[in-house]
Every structure is written in structure tokens, then in C-alpha cells.
Amino acid sequence: MTAQDLKQVAQEHGLSNEEFQKILEILDRDPNLLELGIFSVMWSEHCSYKSSKIHLKTLPTEGPQVIQGPGENAGVVDIGDGWAIAFKMESHNHPSFIEPFQGAATGVGGILRDVFTMGARPIANLNSLRFGEVKHPKTSYLVNGVVEGIAFYGNCMGIPTVGGECFFDASFNGNILVNAMTVGLVAKDKIFKGLAEGVGNPVIYVGSKTGRDGIHGATMASDEFDDSSEEKRPTVQVGDPFTEKLLLEACLELMQEDYLVGIQDMGAAGLTSSSFEMASRSGSGIEMNLSAVPMRETGMTPYEIMLSESQERMLMVAKKGYEEKVLEIFKKWDLDAVVVGQVTDDGWMRLKWEGETVAELPIAPLVDAAPEYDRPCKEPENLLSNWEMNVDQLNFSSDYSTVLKDLIGSPNLSRRRWIYRQYDHMIMTNTVVMPGSDAAVLRLKELKQGIAVTSDCNSRYCYLDPYLGAQHAVAEASLNLACSGAKALALTDCLNFGNPEKPEIMWQFREAVKGMGEACRQLEIPVVSGNVSLYNETKGDAIFPTPTVGMVGLITDIQNYGSTAFKQSGDAIFLLGEAEAQLDASEYLAWVQKKTCGRPPQLDLAMLASINNFLLKAWENQLIRSSHDISEGGLAIALSECCLLSLEQKLGAHIIFEENTDIQSITKILFGEATPRVLVSCAPQDISSLQELARAQGIPITRLGSVIEENLKIDPWIDLPVAELFNIWDAGFEKHLKSK
């Protein structure tokens, strides 16, 4: 290849001129095509985090409960009694847009591997989804495919999918988000890492054979969409959950023995990133014979083998002398497992093919010298004008019952049962609070403690104010846990943004990370793992920035778990918190008035922390029977949800407000948003203890009314049979999906 050709090829691999020069410097010679391919995937946005790293470093990652922070396949936190929880969230946005079923399925497969490589048995999945408007011609197809794909993979693996979120907005018309999260349980002394230590130790390849799947996958995930992405379609990967189930059981069986040094899944950039990352973490080298890699097709080249993104594969390093034992376990499970190389001590990656060395790369320089950019940031021009809200131009309706019905049946607030009914959410017999509540609650067999899990992000808030929006995401997640009687232990994030080369997008990113970090510090919730997905845009239109937060909380005694639904007629209903509701940035404004504007509500994090603590105490002492945070849709929606989730009981509520004639301010009371605010209900005999506890802790508490039967009455404005509301709420999601 001439120098010119080489430059051209580098460019086609998405390497900038500057990056190409750096390669020449590191190697002190021209790279061959294989080496260039390796550089390109290792230095892609997806693998190197080159645009985001500088900001991610600012997030708090430590705490006494943290066993493993960011940098490994998943984060790990201590839950006591020798046990720990490993968890992480990851995006599969672009592949899911191209092929929703397989894209979402393989996304689930990938995040599951991240967790079980740590030695953890996955016990729960969650998914956070963003689609375009319901009436967009592609939306229904995408929702169907994505949900089916998630169901297909998780159900077949036998891991319950217990929660998530699903939000529709036009900004996702050309670029959906599919973020998948897995939570696993691991014995503290059986945690595995992606290490390649010990000269001479065998490097073993296990799992599916390597095919030509997604050869440009890693670089594709960092590319903006344009019309030519249709042509990239043959790179679709097909998920094989059956093989992954065998891989899971075989790996966990192997991990009971003392044969392993390190293990890592082959995710994006497959064999390349797994081998380089393992060696890099250990400061070692690896020599691999690519001819030994199990191949699905004939005529594959070393380039294809190193860049393939075939699913359901793992790379591991075993203790020398135990390779036969390791291979035996995989044979029992009918899986391919082959020794493909060994650990060296010189810090080089040496790849052989049919006896010849075909690539020779220094690992540390390649990994450490990965580019890191401090990309320019600029506040978007429409930021301030977006905050302006001219309410006088809006037409407010005084038919509040109709507005409530409209909202409760809307795409963003209707019941998500259509989704989670397709997910096996009960397998493993741990699910105590099923999807539908603020957070899912899982018991842990043989332990007294349980956990609660949730994922949250208000994308609209983040668009209107990324700093505040990201804080809200952390706040809401922690509040959802507290409403379940759980104390937040740590979070994982999935930062979905547009093209970072645009200063406005980079600004959104920086602000969101700043806000998230600040909230984490104030609430003492460290970030232990995460994922960044950039270039989420089509033809220049970026998505609403979406820093999804996945959070795990600890319930010290599972008997004291909390849930959203009202439990008994006659119970008293209270409001905790006194943040003032506003219509700015609200779901009401977006759905009823079709306006995305206003500044998201300000957030008193200190008050939020106090309310979280209060809820924990209240649940521990069994002073309350339900708790539910007021989020999208405001008080009227939250109150409805407490009634609706009582399901067959069809409990209602009666609360009374003072007479008021100003339609706008009534609308604000009913549908305005503000955090932190929580609805709790308690038995009549516990009222005074509850009030006392609130006083002692400095929590504003207001009696709103009582749980009653059959009707939701918000005097003097709303009186509706809960059964009627139920039908609208229950049918809304599917109705919108099916309407053309």
C-alpha cells in the first residue's frame, strides 16, 4: 500500500489525520490493514470514550459499599453477609433502529454477559426505551420489535425483566434508544475480573463460533445515521440466547472451581477489545493464534476474526495446567472452547495466522494513548427562549376530569403492562413487587435483605436543562427506591446524546454529567458503572439528551418492602414535601398543550435526602402502607396511580382542596410537577406516629384525605369511578400504538 492509500484506508476506518499520525508514531512504521483495523476499533468513540472520558472522570465513584467501581465489566456493591450486587446498563440504540428485534435482543445478551463475567448470576433485567411519536409510521413497528427482542432474549435466558421505562417524543423519530440493564448476585469472595496475568497462562476462547457479524459494528455505533445506513444492514447480528444460557451455566460452574485467572466477554469490537483490555489491565502481553479460533464460515481473514462482533463469546485466561479441566466443563455444556494463545510479559499483542505473525502491537501505548478530547462546548441558542413560557397564550380547560382521562391514557403515562406482560418478570421466584410500581422489589433467597431496582430519566427535562434534568434523574431513581423501602446503594448510567463534535451537544453532555455528579455527591450515591452512547442523531437532528440512571437499593429486611398501591379503604393520605408545582416542562404541557418549553422544576436535594430517609424509617417501622413519588403528570396522576395499582381492589381516594376559580392555578395543582413530593397512606391508628416522625425529621407533611372505595374524588374538581379510569389507563398504550 502506498502512503496515500494507507491514509485513505485509515480515513475509511474513521480515524482522523491526527489519530493516524499517532499510530505511525507509536509503531514507528506503517501499520498493516489488520493493525489499522484494530486501532480503529480500539480508538472508536464506542471503545475509547475519547469525547466523554474527561467529563466522566468528575463523577463520584467511591463509598464504603463500593467493591468495584467503573472500569470493569460491571460495578459491584456490598449488600452484607458476604454477598454483593453487580450491575450495569448499556445501550444498543443504533442496531435496534436498524433491526429492532435482533438489535434489542443482542443488547440484552451483551449486558447479561457483562454481569456474569463478574461471577454474578443475573437476577434481574431492566430496560429504558425511547421511541418517536406514537403516530410516526415506524414507531409501532419499532416498539413491537424491540419489546419482542428483549422478551425473547431475557425470557429464554430465564432472567426476569422486572422494570424499565418507556417514553415517546418526536425527537426520537429517527433514532430510538434501547438501554438494557442487568443486575446480578455474587458472593463477595467469588468476584472475577477481566485480567490476563501470569506468563504462560493459557488464553481460552469459548462460546459461539466467529462469523462475519457486525464487522463494522463498533464503528457503526459511533456513526451518525444517514440514508446509507441501509447498506450497513448485512452487519446485523442475530442473538442466540440458548447458547448464551449454556455459556452462563458453564461459566458459573467453572467459577466454582479454582481454575480461572480472568474472564471478559467479547462485546463491541469482539476479540480485539477483550484481549487488549485484559492485557492492559494486567500490564501483560498476549500471543494469540487466530487460526485456532472457531470459525462459522470458510475463508475468514485475521482482520475479520479480530473485528467480528459475533455474539455469545467469552475470552478467558486460565491457570496453566488446568486447561483440560476448563475445556471439560464447556464440553459438558456442548460449547466450543479452545486454547487460542497465552499470556506473555512483554506488553505486546502478537497475532499469528497459519504460523506467521500478522500483527504486532504494543498494548499500553495503544490503550493509554487512545485519543482523549476536550471538545468545545457551547450553550444552545434556544436554551433561554425555551425557558420562556407564555401561559397566557394557552387554552386551559376547566373540564379537569377529561384532562385527567386524556393524560392517564396518553402514550407516556398509560399502563406499561403491554410491555411487561411480554417479559417473564416472575421467573427465579424472587419478584416481590412486580413491574408497575415505583421500583421492582426482589427478595434474595436465604438472605433477610432484599433489593429494589429502578431506571429513570426525564428526557424532556434534560433537553430543557441538562444540568437540572440529570439531577432529576438521580433524584427520581433514589426516591423510587425509597418509596419501595430501599436505600440507594449506587447507580449505573447510560448517557445517550447526539454528535459530540457539535459544541451544543457537548455542552449538553458536560452539563448533564456535572448535574449528575452533583446530585450523586449530595445524595451520597456513587456511580459504579456506565456506558456512553453518542452520535444519536439522524440527518442532523439530535435526540433529547438522555442520561438514563439505573439504581439499586438495599432493603434491610424484605418483610418491610414498600409499594405504590393503596392497600385499604379508610387509610389516611398524606403529602410529603412542599415543593411548588409548576406547569413548565411538564407532561401536561407536552401532551395536552403540545408544547415542550419552560424550565424544569428546581430541586432541593437536601430535602430530597431527608424525605428518602424518612421513607426508609416509615417503612422499617411499618408506619405506612403505600408510598409513591409525584413525577410526570403531577399530583392527579400520582394519586390515580395509587388507586389504579390496587388492581382488583379498585380502591379510590377522596381529597379536598380549597375553592379556587383560577383555571390555570387549578391545573397547576392537579397536573403541575415538582420534586421532591411523595404521597403516602397509613392506617388511621398510625397517623400521629407518622406525623411525629415527620416533625422530628423536619419533613413537611400535609393531610390530603383518605383512601375510599370505587371513586377518585379530588374535590371540588374531579369525581371519577376508578373502574373507568382503569380501562383508559390499561388500554391506552396499545390503543395509541395501533392507531395510525
Binding site: R233, V236, V238, F242, R296, S310
Partner: protein
């Protein structure tokens, strides 16, 4: 009139089902099977006998519903009844 549309995975696309069947065949003691790939066949009964109209229907069916162009190929034939 009858017609038949056959939909197959593109070559190179992983076919976990085909592989599982192949394994099962091996465990049954059947030897010499190099590959099994699984496709779908749609048997369609149509009112019209106009071949050009049928062709149009089958093309639309195949591209819009039956095959996923990202990973599948299709072919169709009209069967005289």
C-alpha cells in the same frame, strides 16, 4: 390460484435454529450432514387468477411483511391449481 413464497436467511447470517437441528440430527446418529438452515414457506391462496396482479401482491407481501430485507432473501412462485 395458489402461490408460494419462500423466505431464507441470507448466507452468513447466524441461524441458531438450523444449528440446533443439526446438533439434534448428530445426536440421533445421522452422519454426514454438513449444514441445515431453516427458512419459512408461506402457502397463499388467492382469489384472482390474473398473474400480473398476483405478482404484484406477492412482491408487496414479500417485501413488506414476509421477509426482513436486513437479513432475509425471498423468492416466490405461482402454482396452478
Amino acid at each position: 390460484m395458489k402461490a408460494k413464497v419462500t423466505v431464507r436467511l441470507k448466507s452468513g447470517v447466524l441461524d441458531p435454529q438450523g444449528r440446533a437441528v443439526q446438533h439434534a440430527a448428530e445426536s440421533l446418529g445421522l452422519q454426514g450432514i454438513q449444514e441445515i438452515r431453516l427458512g419459512k414457506v408461506f402457502d397463499i391462496e388467492l382469489e384472482t387468477t390474473d398473474e400480473t396482479e398476483i405478482e404484484k401482491i406477492l412482491e408487496t407481501l414479500a417485501t413488506k411483511i414476509l421477509a426482513n430485507p436486513v437479513m432475509e432473501n425471498y423468492e416466490w412462485e405461482i402454482i396452478q391449481s
